[in-house]
């Protein structure tokens, strides 16, 4: 039998050479209550995470006529509608940025968030055949659902760049902060996704609340209007909606809105971390019952 010790993942067990007793021991025991998050295990299963994400990306636009163009159509058409109704007709202020650009800079991260949220929330239930047949850290499922949205995000970001070229908007140096705001959107989507996916296993009601939730959340996020409508301490309080920080962060970094959103982003980061940590613990606590309930 060929030992698989050439692989770095099992190197520590193969290192002991001939000793068969160096094999890992799996202990199966009842577990109760809150358990520690096993990040090391997640790392061990990184290849599975990669393949699950890759599967999501690969099948997302299979057998669609427009394919990946959908990643552009979604934010583009929302932008057109918003520009017409909010920008033209309602004359909503836009921090001295052309309204379509202002709106698109918010819609691009928002679309990533909303898709990641709804994909990950239903991910456990749609993967029930995996959950009931194979063991692996369940965290990989909602995680891969959010990660796979990064491809769509990149495509729609290209749309935003096109819009910036169209409006002759040169990105300021602070656009280097953009990955951080993307990370913030990612953390928020994953955090909420963890809560909802674990809840959805037990209560399928979640599925029906998602469209409502994303719609509600969208209007609670400064996409069609600027958060500068609020005065400061209230603007920072508004940042407790993590997506408010993300959207204002994108505008600040890319299209040069001069409304420094510092306190707001600090509030958003804290809120997002809280959601993620809480979601991880709740997810881990429910994880052991998934196979029985799903």
């Amino acid at each position: 039998m060929m030992p698989t010790g050439t692989d770095p993942g099992t190197a520590n067990t193969a290192f002991a050479g001939i000793g068969l007793d160096s094999h890992p021991v799996t202990v199966i025991e009842p577990s109760k209550g809150w358990v520690a998050i096993k990040l090391s295990e997640l790392w061990e299963y990184r290849e599975l995470l990669y393949f699950l994400t890759w599967r999501e990306v690969k099948v997302r636009y299979k057998q669609t006529a427009l394919g990946a163009a959908w990643a552009v159509i979604q934010p583009l058409f929302t932008m057109l509608v918003f520009s017409l109704f909010f920008g033209r007709l309602a004359k909503v202020p836009s921090d001295n940025i052309p309204y379509p650009l202002f709106c698109l800079a918010g819609l691009v991260p928002w679309t990533f968030f909303a898709n990641g949220l709804s994909q990950s929330s239903t991910s456990l239930v749609t993967s029930s055949n995996l959950i009931s047949k194979v063991y692996f850290p369940r965290l990989t499922i909602p995680l891969s659902a959010v990660l796979s949205g990064a491809v769509d995000f990149t495509i729609s970001l290209a749309l935003l760049v096109c819009a910036m070229v169209f409006y002759r908007q040169v990105p300021p140096v602070r656009c280097l902060y953009l990955p951080l705001f993307f990370l913030l959107a990612f953390v928020t989507a994953l955090g909420v996704g963890l809560w909802l996916s674990a809840l959805n296993v037990k209560y399928r009601d979640v599925r029906y609340t998602i469209p409502f939730l994303t719609q509600f959340w969208m209007f609670a996020t400064p996409i069609a209007y600027p958060s500068s409508l609020l005065r400061e301490p209230w603007r920072a309080v508004y940042g407790l909606n993590p997506m408010a920080g993300v959207v204002e962060g994108f505008r600040w970094a890319l299209v040069g809105a001069d409304t420094a959103p510092g306190p707001m982003i600090a509030a958003s980061s804290c809120a997002a971390m809280l959601i993620l940590v809480g979601g991880s613990f709740y997810f881990q606590r429910m994880e052991k019952t998934f196979a029985d309930v799903v």
């Binding site: 060929m2 698989t4 094999h23 209560y203």
Partner: protein
Amino acid sequence: MSDIAIRAENLGKQYHIGALQLAGGRYTYGSLRDSIANAASAPFRIVRSWIGRDQKVNDTDPTIWALKDVSFEIKRGDIVGVIGRNGAGKSTLLKLLARITKPTTGRAEIHGRVGSLLEVGTGFHPELTGRDNIYLNGSILGMKRAEIARHFDEIVAFAEVEQFIDTPVKHYSTGMYLRLAFAVAAHLETDVLLVDEVLAVGDYRFQEKCLGKMRDVATTGRTILFVSHSMASIQRLCKRAIEISGGRIAADGTPAAVIAQYIGGSLGDTFTEAADPVRPTITRAALVLKEQALLLSVDFESPFTLTPPVFGFVIYNSLGTPVFGTNNTADPISPPPQPSRAGRFEVAIPADHFRPDRYLFSFWLGDPFTDYCVREMVLQVELNGSVGGGLPTEGNGNIYLNTEWRYETVPQSKPL
């Protein structure tokens, strides 16, 4: 070091059956409304239990032990078969050992890398090509990418899908799909393998190939825990068998002994069943041993006319291997049966062709196109005659034929 691969101590798994489908061993999901309604009525129930009027307060959340007090040890390199009726707890045991679900009580230890094959083709995506699915399925089963790449050609060759490897699997035939799925699973290189019924795929030739592969795997010193309904596979593959019944270990020993106990269980020489209003039913079957013949008589009733009725039976030995089977198409009756809604078949089976053993009978009833009623292993008879000239059944087979012998002395071709 210990040479134990799997050690289980008092493993138990309790399910809430308030909303449980027993067969699958899973809950159905509740809605939030039910939970709220339940929570709202809980105080009333508790108060009632204080007053002592309502003794059955626990009945609102009944539980069942799908598995209870299961303890065993399996040595490194052993192939152990697990048998039991549907719902006995076999799959629950595998799920616990595979870490898919957590035990309620007890503890188990598995030494070495564990792989579980509870289903073939887990995670296969119809839109992806065969190549993509090999990588995806392999990584879901716990293989490293390098490992899959190393076995890739072997897997494709084993599955016999070379030409179609870049075709989406939704265009595959069922056979190709299953072959590919099994091929990936068969190349899983773990120290301990937990297998559930995956051999029940594909045609006969491929099943044989799979069994062969399993035997090869076994010779490499890996430990296999193998759940199956196929007594023949367990007989051929395993050195040891465990029977699970009602969530507990009912028997543990050599496959022959355990299988004999399992299928012998509680069968008699008559079988009755109520007529079904929508399907043809075998209402009564009885076996009588008279002189040198086994007389089988079978009554049936049908809500519609069978044109004409066709009846067949298969006789198994005590290990569950089919010994003989026939039907009235293969052995026509004269005069032939008339189209009818009820009738009785009588078959005389020469008993002097069977060596001593316990024999089990399966039946099926239909018309020339459809089998309407199949009853597997529902009758048994013990034959203890002196058939076979005193040769033991084991090693000489169940069937005894009246052979004709001659002997003559012949001159030596070359004198010594």
